[in-house]
């Protein structure tokens, strides 16, 4: 199909216009679509980012997990930077770290959609963010090891790992208590 406007390039943008119930089908090429404003492009074309940002415009659930409707959800406003949830959805960007806490309840579906079902970080931890996060990560690694060892019936090794876990748990408890003292 050729573009309705220039009659030269192939029509690649197909668009249905509804005005006062009257439907018009439009078939144009990308150049004409852009010129006539049927389609807007960011200046550098489509980036991966734009593609992914598109993903959160899909409908998010209208009720929370306890079945209560999210009423003033679009009114949620970050106390630090004044970003609203509606604004966040529109531009696809957080304004500051407190947005993450403010919108916390509504983020899982968004992260899950963008990151193939994942909502929790697994990976590098800043050095500075208190040693106990590193210990916690190590603890998780040990627990995983323990499960594998038990599965393989390597009980002697499992006992060693179990002792390591106990020791680490103790360390984390005292570290957390210490952190609280500082506050």
């Amino acid at each position: 199909m050729k573009c309705q406007q220039c009659q030269k390039r192939p029509a690649t943008v197909h668009y249905t216009h509804v005005i006062n119930g009257k439907k018009t089908n439009i078939h144009v090429c990308e150049v004409c679509a852009k010129d006539s404003g049927y389609m807007t492009y960011p200046e550098e074309g489509f980036s991966l980012h734009d593609l992914l940002t598109g993903l959160f415009h899909l409908d998010t659930p209208k009720v929370d997990y306890q079945g209560h409707p999210f009423q003033q959800i679009e009114e949620l406003r970050c106390p630090s930077c004044a970003m609203t949830f509606a604004e966040f959805k529109r531009i696809g960007k957080f304004g500051c770290i407190d947005c993450y806490h403010t919108f916390s309840n509504r983020l899982d579906p968004i992260f899950s959609r963008v990151h193939s079902g994942n909502t929790r970080h697994l990976g590098k931890i800043p050095k500075r963010k208190g040693g106990h996060l590193h210990l916690k990560k190590q603890l998780a690694d040990y627990r995983e090891q323990l499960a594998t060892l038990i599965e393989n019936e390597a009980f002697e090794k499992a006992a060693i790992v179990r002792d390591n876990i106990k020791e680490l748990e103790q360390k984390i408890r005292s570290k957390e208590a210490g952190d609280n003292d500082e506050l």
């Binding site: 696809g92 994942n118 800043p126």
Partner: protein, 352 residues
């Protein structure tokens, strides 16, 4: 202030080495997105706040050296001319987005151009590491070292559950985008790549043409990168990406063998015609140049043409609109650029 060297040399020093699988993988890159905990993200922060960040980085890191990469040069984007900005974008040292945030944006670039850190782009800090050839693991290790080194003086925005907090939800968690630039002419000619893309996407890996629009990739160059940043460790993300890249390398090598066997002289003809066009034409646009250079590169890889790959890499950068105008020291019309481009290519290829 001396950033002239970044403008004068088309080929970054790190590109001069041949990395593993350099006939197919031109370069590897790891990028980490980081924010400072005590400042709003650039999308919303007032200029004064962003200028704080910028000044702090300048004070602490300008001329600081990270290992063997040489001193980091701090460049304030507002000090650059339009053409100079274009040059840094064409060398992939800064992003087009950074150049639009002129008054608060800056960049730290190491002498060997292997490390570039963008300041106040979409996030406060974007750390980028480049390696020649297929070296994602090394790029990751070095990116982590730079990350730790920077962290000595700043407090990163981090959350136990969500990881590194970024302005865009597509980067949260590791904040890492790892990618390789691949030259895949045989997979394009045999139309295999388009069929492979859906399967690759399924593995959380994205394939995009580097230049050109939509599905049309100029010069058969593709960027292969991870899509997800949350819920997988950096190491696992890299391993998955490496798996896909290895497969692509194998398929490309196989397709090249097959092409050579099936087309024989036909393929040789195509390659040498392109060499001829590059050597003798008087007007050359970027699109045709990309296609011709791709053919010639394939010719070098198949040992049909005796030419250094570095010349081809250099030509790709030297002939970009920003570079041409930087060296002409004036603004050129598209036609003037096409004429100058043809002459630059001719000269380089005849010298070689």
């Amino acid at each position: 202030m001396s950033y002239d060297q970044f403008m004068d040399q088309a080929v970054s020093p790190w590109m001069l080495e041949d990395g593993p699988d350099h006939d197919i993988v031109l370069s590897s890159r790891v990028r980490l997105a980081r924010n400072l905990a005590d400042y709003k993200f650039p999308v919303i922060a007032p200029s004064e706040e962003l200028n704080h960040v910028k000044q702090f980085i300048e004070k602490e890191y300008n001329q600081a050296s990270f290992n063997e990469s040489g001193p980091l040069q701090f460049i304030s984007i507002q000090d650059l001319s339009t053409i100079e900005k274009m040059v840094l974008v064409e060398k992939h040292l800064i992003s087009p987005l950074l150049t639009k945030k002129s008054d608060t944006a800056a960049s730290l670039i190491s002498q060997d151009e292997q490390i570039s850190i963008m300041i106040n782009e979409e996030d406060h800090l974007r750390i980028q590491l480049y390696y020649p050839g297929f070296q994602l693991q090394d790029a990751l290790n070095k990116a982590f070292e730079v990350d730790d080194w920077l962290e000595d003086k700043v407090n990163y925005a981090f959350d136990e559950k969500r990881g590194y907090l970024t302005s865009c939800p597509t980067n949260v968690g590791t904040g890492m985008r790892a990618s390789v630039m691949m030259h895949l002419p045989a997979l394009v000619i045999t139309k295999q790549l388009n069929r492979m893309i859906p399967a690759i996407n399924h593995l959380g890996v994205v394939v995009r043409g580097i230049y050109g629009e939509g599905s049309e990739a100029l010069g058969n160059l593709f960027q292969i990168s991870n899509q997800i940043t949350l819920g997988k460790s950096e190491k696992n993300i890299i391993e998955d990406l490496q798996g896909v890249v290895r497969q692509l390398i194998e398929h490309e090598r196989h397709a090249r063998d097959k092409l050579l066997k099936e087309l024989g002289t036909g393929l040789e003809d195509r390659i040498f015609r392109s060499l001829g066009v590059l050597k003798y034409s008087r007007i050359m646009d970027t699109k045709e140049m990309a296609t011709r250079l791709s053919h010639v590169r394939l010719g070098v890889d198949l040992e049909l043409i005796d030419l250094s790959r570095h010349i081809l890499t250099e030509l790709t950068v030297l002939t970009q609109p920003g570079f041409l105008q930087y060296h002409a020291q004036k603004t050129l019309t598209p036609r003037e650029r096409d004429v100058l481009r043809a002459s630059v290519i001719r000269k380089k290829l005849i010298e070689a």
